[in-house]
Amino acid sequence: MRNFPPVVSVFHTLRGETPTSAPDIRSPSRFLRWQMWQQAPVIATATLVGILWQLPLTVGPWLVGRAVDQGMLARSVGGTLQWAGLLLLVTIIGAVFGIAMHTLVVRSWLIALYGTTLLVTRKAVQLGHVLPRRSPTGEVLSVASSDSDEFGALTEITARGLSQLVAYLTVAAIVLLTSPTLGLMVLAAAPVLVGAALPMLRPLHSRQQAERTRNSTLTSMATDIVAGLRILRGIGGESTFGRNYASQSQFTRQAGVAAGVWQAAIEAVGVLMSGCFLVVLMYAGTRAVDSGQLTVGELVSFLGYGLFMVGPIRTFFEFAQKLTRALVSAKKAVAVLELTPPWREPAPPVPLPDRGDLVDESTGFVARMGLLTVVVSSVPESSAELADRLGRWFTVAEEPPPLLESTGRRWGRQARTERREQRLLMAVRDAARAAEPWGVSYGGVDLGRVPLDELRRVILVSDTNSRLFAGTLQEAVDPHNALTREQAEEALRTAAAEDVYDALPGGWAGELDERGRGLSGGQRQRVVLARAVSADPRVLVLVEPTSAVDAHTEARIAERLAAHRQGKTTVVTTVSPLWLHHADHVVLLSGGRVVAEGRHEELLTGEPEYRDVVLRTMEVAHV
C-alpha cells in the first residue's frame, strides 16, 4: 500500500531512479481513473475500515432498542448488561476504526495532492524553457496548488461514500425488517429532506460566487495598495485608495450578507423539515406501539435512525459534486501534463568538438575561439535573438504577446481561445524547427546534431531574464556544489558582487529570498553573473549583463571579466563603451546581419553606423 509522500519520477528521470507509472492523459476521466487506480489498495482499505467506523451509527440505535426491550422492560439485569456491553464494544470499535479511517483518508488525499505537485514539477523541468511557450505560468501553478487538492478530495469522498453506501443498505435492511411501514418512511424521508434544500442551493451558490468574486477583487486591491505603498506614502493618495478599499469592503460585505440570508433559510428549512419528519415518525411510531405492532425499544431505535439516512444521502450528493469538480481539474491537469518538448534525440548524436568557432549562418556572426566578442546592435532585441540562437534556445520574440489590451470580460474568453490556438500553432512550428538543422555550428558541427544536455553544458547563454532561487548565497553562486571556496570568491569578485556578500548576514550562508527578492536589481544581476562565471562553460554568452549596474561598477566588471575569461570564448551583447574597450573583437549587427566587425577603435573611426549606435547611448541624455 502506498504512503505519502509518493515517489514520482516520470517525465524527467534523474540518475539512479526508475520511472514511475506515467499518468493516463488521453482524457480527463482516464486521468482520474489512473489517479484512483494508483491508490486502489488505500481506497479499498479505507472503505472497509470506514464500514467498521460507522458501526455505532448503523447498529447502535438497534442495540439501544434491544437493551430497552430485552433488558429494561424485561427487567433483566443480564439482558441489559449484555446489550449495553455490545453497545460499548461497538462504540470502541467505532473509535478505533475512526482513527484508522482518518489516517487512511489523509494518506490517500496527500498521495494525490503531493503526487500531482511532483508530476507538475517533473513536467516543468522536462519542458524547460518551452513551458512558458505552451502554457501560462498561472495555469501550471494552479494545477499543483489547487487542482491537486480536488483529486485528494475525490479519493476521500470515494472511500467515505462507498462505506456509507454499505451503512445505508445495512440500516435499510434493519428498519425494513423491524417495521415495513416505518422503515419505508425512514428510507423515503432522507432524499426528501436532502432534496428540500436543492431549490435554494442555486441562489445560494450564485450569491456565494458573487461574494468570492468581490472578495478576490478586494484582496487584489489590498495587494495593489501594498505594491504601490511607496508611492502612496511618498506622493500621497492614501485617502483615495483607503476610501476605494473601504467601499469595496462594504460591497463585499453586502454580498456576504445576501449569501448569509440564503444560508440561514436553508438551515431553517432543514430544521423545519427534519423536525416535522421526526414528529410524524414519532406519532406513527407511538400509534404502532399503542396497537402492539411495535415494541418501545424498536420505537427508540427508529428515533435513532430517523435522521441517520440524511448523512449518506448528503455524502452521495457531495460525491457527485466533487467528481464534477475533479473532472474539471483533471482537464486542467491533462492540459499541462500532455505537453511534450519539441526536441527529438538526434540520430545519430554527434558530440561537440573540444574546440572551434561558434558560427551563426543567418546573421553571419562568428565568435572566434578564445576571444571576447562584443555584439553591438541598435535594436537590443536582435542581439538577444542572436544570443538565443547561439545556445539553441527558442526565442521569446516569437511568443504571442501577453494579453495587454484585453478590456472587459466580454472579450476575455475569445482572447483566451485565440491565445490557446496561437500556442498550439507554435508547438507545431517549434517541433518543425527542432527537427531541421539549427543553423548554428560549433567547430563545424550543427548544434541540432548534438544532444541537448551536452550542448547546455558547453554553451551557456545567460539572458536578461535569468533568475535567482531561494537558498544561501553559496547555493546561488555554486548551485552544483562543484567549486572550491577560492573559485567562488573569484567568481564573486569577477562580477563585482562583493557588496552582496557583505550585505547578507551570514556571508556565504546568508539566505536569499525567493527570486532574490530583497536584493536590488543591480545586486541580483551581479549574483546571476557570478553564477554564470562560476559555471565556467567553454562558451559563455552574456546578454546585457550590466544593464542595471552603475558606470563605476560596470567598468570594473568589464575589466575583471575580460581578464577572468582570458583565452575562453565569450560573447557579450551590449552597447556600453566600457565593455567595448575590453573586447578582442566587436561585431555590429544591423537588419539581422553582421554589417561590420573589427576592434572598437577601428570601428569608431571607420564605421559611421557603429559610431551612431555607440554614441547614441550618450545622446539620449539630452532631455
Binding site: 514539477t121 478586494l218 506622493i235 456576504g256 416535522c276 548551485p479 550618450m618 539620449v620
Partner: protein, 640 residues
Amino acid sequence: MSDLLSTSAATWRDSARDQPVLPIELTANQNGASVRARIKGLRDRHRLRRERAERVYADSRNPARGWPVADERAVVRFIAGKIRERRWSFTALVLLNALAAAAALAIPALLGQLIDRVTAPGPATGLGSLALLIVAVVVAQAVFTFAGQLTSTLFGQNLLASMREYVVETILRLPLSRVEGASTGDLVTRVTRDVGTMSRAVQTGLPMAVIALLTVVLSVGAMLLNSVLLSLPSLLVIAGSVVQVRRYLRRASICYIAEGASYSRINTTLTETVEGARTVEALGLAGRRVVAEQDDVAVSAQAERYGVTLRNLLFAVIDVAFNVPTVITVVVGAWGYWNGYLTLGQITAAVLYVESLSGPLDRLVAQVDRLQVGAASTARLLGIATVPADREPGTAVPTGPELVAEGLRFAYRPDHDVLHGVDFRPRVGERIAIVGPSGSGKSTLGRLLAGINGPRTGSVRIGGVELLELPLEQLREEVALVTQEHHVFVGSVRDNIVLGRETANDDAVWAALDAVGSADWVRRLPDQLDTRVGSGNLALTPAQAQQVAMARLVIADPHTLVLDEATSLIDPRTARTLEGSVHALLVGRTVIAIAHRLHTAHDADRVVVVIDGRIVELGSHDELVAQDGEYAGLWRAWTS
C-alpha cells in the same frame, strides 16, 4: 575590496551541503523492530515533529525581515472592543440563537412525554395534541434558527469589514522610512493570507463558536432538568475529555500554521521552477529543482503527519467520551427504571440529548481551533499598527525652497556608517547628478535629501526647517523621491493621477496630462478619466504607465525631485519616446539624479562623485574632466 570577503572561510561550507532535509529519526525504517521499540519510535517522531512545528510557528511569528507581530492580549482587547461597539447585535445573536437551541432541546423532552403516554397503562390519550405542540415548537425552532443565523451573518460580516478596513488604514499610515526600507513581501502575505484566515475566523468561526457554546451549555442544562441521575455520569465522562481537548487545542493552531507554511513553501519552490524554467534548463538545475520540491514535500508530509497524530489522539478520547454516555444512560436508566426513579420517557429523552450533544461539542472544538489560527493571523495584522512613527511634525513653515544638507552621517546598522559627514547645497533650479560605485552611499544620500530617513547626525533643511519636522503633506509639496513610479493602481485614471493633491479638479488633471503629452490617448479611452486601469482592468503600455506616473508628479508639484535612476521611470531605453514628458516634468524644478549612466552626469549642471560615503569631487562636468580625477577617468573610459 577583498576585506569584504574576510569571513568567507568561516561561512563557506565544503561538505555540509546535500544533507538530508529531514533528520534520520523521521525517515528511519522500523520494519522488524519490536512493538515496544515501535511505540517508542512513534512517540519520538511525534515529539520531533512537534518541535519542528513549533520552530516554524516561532519563525512565522517573528519573521527575520518582516514587520512586527502583536501579542495575544492585544488581539483579545481588540476583538473585545469591536464586540463592545456592536453590543446590541451581539446580544441579539446570543438571544436568538439561545432561543433556537432551547426550542431544539424542548423536542426530546416532548418526545419523551409521548413515550410516557404510550407506555402508561390504559389507552394512550392526547397523542394528537402533543404532536401538534411538538410541531409548534419545531416551527418556532425553525424561525429562531433563521433569525439567529441571519444576525450571526450580519454580525460576522460587519465585524470582518470593520477589521479589514482597519488593517488597510494602518498600512496606509505606515511610516515613510519603513515603507521605503522594508520589503513588501511580508505585507503582501499579511493582506492576503492573514486577512483570509482572519476572515474565516471572524465571519463564521466566531458566531459558530458562540452558537455551539450556547447549545452545549443549554443542552447540559436540559439534561440536568430532565434527570440529574441520568445525566451526571454522562457529563462526568464528557468532562473527562477536557484535558485531552485542551492539550489538542494548545498544539493544533501551531500545527496548522506549520502545515500552511509548508504548503506555501511548496508553491514558492514550484513557482520559482516554472518562472525560472529557462534558467533551470540553462544551468542544468533540473535535478536540483526536483530534489528541492521533493524536500519541500517531505517537510510538508512531516507537518501533516504531526497533524494526523494530534487529531488521532484527540479522536481516541472524544469518540469514546462522547459516545460512551449512551451506554451509561442505558445502564443507569435501566437501574433507575426498575427502582421507579425514572420513566421511559426520561430515558428516551436522555438518550436523544446525549446523542445530540456530540455534534455541538465537535463543532465547538473545531471552531475554537479555527479561532486560534485566526487569532495568530490577527496578531500579525495588528502588529502593523505597532510600528512606531518615524517623525514628529513641528509647526515651522519653510521660508523658501533652498535645500541645505550639513554634516550628514547615517547608518543602517549600528557602527556601520555609510555616510561620513556629507555637506551639500544644491542651488534652486539646478540639475545635479550623483555618481559613484554601488555601495558608495549615493542612494542613501538621496533618501536623506528627500526626507525619507533622518540623518544620524547632521541636518537636512528646506527653507530653514528640518525635513523630518515637516508634516508629510507639506514635505510632499517640497520634495519627492521618484522610484518605482511605473506602478498603475487599480482604479480610475483620475485616481491614479490626483494622488499628490486629492482635491485637484478635472481641469488640473487634464492640464497635467497635457503637460506630459498623454491627453490624447486618455481622451480616446472609453470612459476617459473614469476608465478603470490597473491589474485586472485596462492594461496601459509601459510608456503610458510612465506618463501617468509623471502626470502624478506634475499634479503633486514638488519644487525638488530626487530621481534614483536604478529604479525610476527615467530609463534611458524608453526616454526617447518620453523625452517631452520628462522635460515637462523636470522643467522649473531642482533635480537631484542618482545617476547610473554617465550621460545624465554629462548633462547636469553639477556632478557630485560619492565614494565610500564621502563627496570626493564636486563641480560641473567640464570642471571635473579638467580636474582629471575619478570622474574624468570614468568619462574617458566611456567616450574613448
